[in-house]
């Protein structure tokens, strides 16, 4: 048995059939992590004792004939901006380097109720701001398919952990593409749910009107299992809600797929165009009908995003003041001195850039020209999707303009880094669900760089994306 090859589904089958115990599986997987993660750098911290304890509980449950749920005993990796009580939650920032979570995120509570096993916390760009994990205060995660390249970001650690088999599945968060972009670059499945489907309690907030937690998995089938485990209304997140949309296998086949003409522009890497074209052909062979649609305002999405997101970042990060979470600079004369010194020391360059940018677009005199204007164009982008979804059920596009880029390639020019999210940002602005699916199965070590394609759906229609995706991967 090779623990690196398991999916949530195959783990559950083997576990139920008593082919292995959850404890021995976790022990084997930690051996792989301890040798394999030196090169990849997917994890920031490991939860070895806690994982063994929980795996033992899952085994006990099985021995007692208790109900085994889809995630019982399944070893998962968690992005380090989600809180697991009693363990570090750094958000890859010096500011939270010594912070220990005081409570469980709602997604963690839900997974604990199923007796899932947490392997450790994964690397990200500081406070989830970036597209390569190069903004992590601790290290850069490497792409398992080519370690001279980035794993993508911000949830690069979770993507790389799943792609390299060092976790069966993982959770990430997606504000402008932070699940889908690294999933595409690492050749795994990544899903951003409809805004409000998954509780954000215990997710260290970046941009609250855009943030959503979602799954990283090896298959679309697993993606649905993990999503179903963490979704649902939470009284502690006023934006959360239950959704009840269902669709039958027969109805899936009748879904119409739209191709936005604005998304196939110059500047996309030929390998991406070829990959997405391959996916379209395969879906056509499966019998899906396609139609060209127009999303005329999506070309403004990057500008809108880089106004709204930093505005929310600057307010959300105001609470990191050197008083409540950690204090690195002790030698201060006054309260003001404590703020300015700790925030200078605790925040990395990209975080500072976004806090200052957000402060700028919210300041009087600029508010109308930037922040208010961006919110209006955000409305137009959402209406573009509404109009397109009158004609089609699902929209297909690339996930990223290029395959995984080299470590260091884009760090000097923030704007070129921001451009790697142009295809993923619109779904966050509109609030709709979107999934990144590998064009084909990519084997680590083959030398090939993965390409993904994106399916975007109507609000709360995750089932449409899973349904098409499952047919795609079964082919």
């Amino acid at each position: 048995m090779n623990v690196k090859d398991f999916t949530i589904k195959s783990f559950g089958e083997g576990f139920k059939a008593k082919e292995f115990s959850a404890l021995e599986f976790a022990q084997e997987l930690f051996k792989e992590i301890e040798s394999g993660d030196k090169e990849i750098g997917a994890y920031l911290s490991l939860i070895k004792d806690g994982a063994f304890l929980e795996a033992g509980r899952a085994d006990l449950l099985r021995a007692e004939g208790g109900e085994l749920l889809p995630l019982t005993g399944v070893p998962l990796a968690i992005k380090d901006n989600m809180l697991i009580k009693g363990y570090p939650a750094t958000a890859s920032s010096r500011m939270l380097e010594n912070y220990v979570a005081a409570y469980d995120a709602t997604v963690i509570t839900k997974l604990k109720n199923e007796h899932a096993v947490f392997l450790g916390k994964t690397n990200l760009d500081e406070f989830a701001m970036g597209s390569s994990t190069e903004n992590s205060a601790f290290h850069t995660t490497k792409n398992p398919h080519d370690t001279s390249r980035v794993a993508g970001g911000s949830s690069g650690g979770s993507a790389a952990a799943v792609a390299s088999g060092l976790a069966v599945a993982a959770l990430g968060s997606d504000t402008g593409g932070s699940i889908r972009q690294p999933a595409a670059l690492c050749g795994v499945v990544g899903m951003k749910p409809t805004y409000g489907t998954v509780s954000r309690l215990g997710l260290i907030a970046m941009a609250s009107s855009l943030d959503q937690i979602g799954p990283f998995t090896k298959t679309v089938e697993d993606s649905k299992i993990l999503f179903d485990a963490v979704r649902g209304m939470d009284i502690h997140d006023a934006t959360s809600t239950n959704s009840h949309y269902k669709i039958s296998k027969e109805e899936i086949k009748k879904l119409k797929i739209g191709i936005p003409k604005e998304y196939f522009v110059d500047g996309i890497d030929p390998a991406v165009v070829k990959g997405v074209e391959e996916a379209i052909q395969k879906l056509k062979k499966l019998g899906f009908s396609f139609k060209e649609v127009s999303l005329p305002n999506t070309k403004y999405a990057l500008s809108v995003y880089y106004i709204i997101m930093p505005a929310e970042v600057s307010t959300n990060l105001a609470r990191l003041d050197g008083i409540r979470y950690s204090r690195d600079v002790q030698d201060v004369k006054s309260l003001r001195d404590l703020y300015v010194k700790n925030r200078a020391h605790g925040f990395g360059p990209e975080t500072r850039r976004r806090v200052l940018l957000g402060t700028f677009v919210l300041s009087s005199g600029y508010y109308d020209a930037y922040y208010s204007k961006a919110q209006k164009v955000r409305r137009l982008i959402q209406e573009d999707f509404d109009n397109a979804f009158n004609e089609v059920d699902v929209i297909l596009s690339p996930v990223t303009p290029t395959p995984a880029f080299k470590v260091g390639e884009k760090t000097a020019d923030p704007l070129s880094m921001y451009l790697s999210d142009i295809f993923t940002i619109p779904a966050n602005l509109a609030g709709i669900p979107a999934i990144s699916i590998p064009v084909k199965k990519y084997v680590v070590g083959s030398g090939e760089l993965p390409i993904g394609f994106q399916l975007m759906g109507k609000n709360f229609h995750e089932e449409d994306l899973f349904g098409i995706g499952e047919m795609y991967e079964a082919e």
Binding site: T239, L335, L338, L356
Partner: protein, 95 residues
């Protein structure tokens, strides 16, 4: 375009101490990013109402009660870098 003195002002508002070099760098970076935003001027938004949040739900209410419990409160206090008697301790406001 954004001047170095504007960056200084933003840093003051954001309570982040910057070096001279960092101010230069940020003036350059922010200037370039703000130039990119100029494209929004061409969009007619006169009759458009702003989209102010991500959720479609309105008036999500819950009971005004201590639903999170005392234990978590104590753990949060435990994480404070400086504390006294279960309270947060800070340096003097005026030096």
């Amino acid at each position: 375009m954004i001047s170095k003195s504007e960056v200084k002002h933003l840093a003051e508002l954001s309570r982040i101490e910057l070096t001279d070099e960092e101010e230069e760098r940020l003036a350059h970076d922010l200037g370039k990013i703000l130039d990119h935003f100029a494209e929004l001027k061409e969009v007619d938004t006169e009759k458009v109402s702003p989209l102010t949040g991500g959720a479609l739900i309105m008036n999500a209410l819950r009971d005004d009660s201590d639903s999170r419990g005392r234990i978590e409160n104590d753990m949060a206090v435990e994480e404070f870098p400086d504390k006294a008697g279960g309270l947060l301790k800070v340096p003097p406001v005026f030096s």
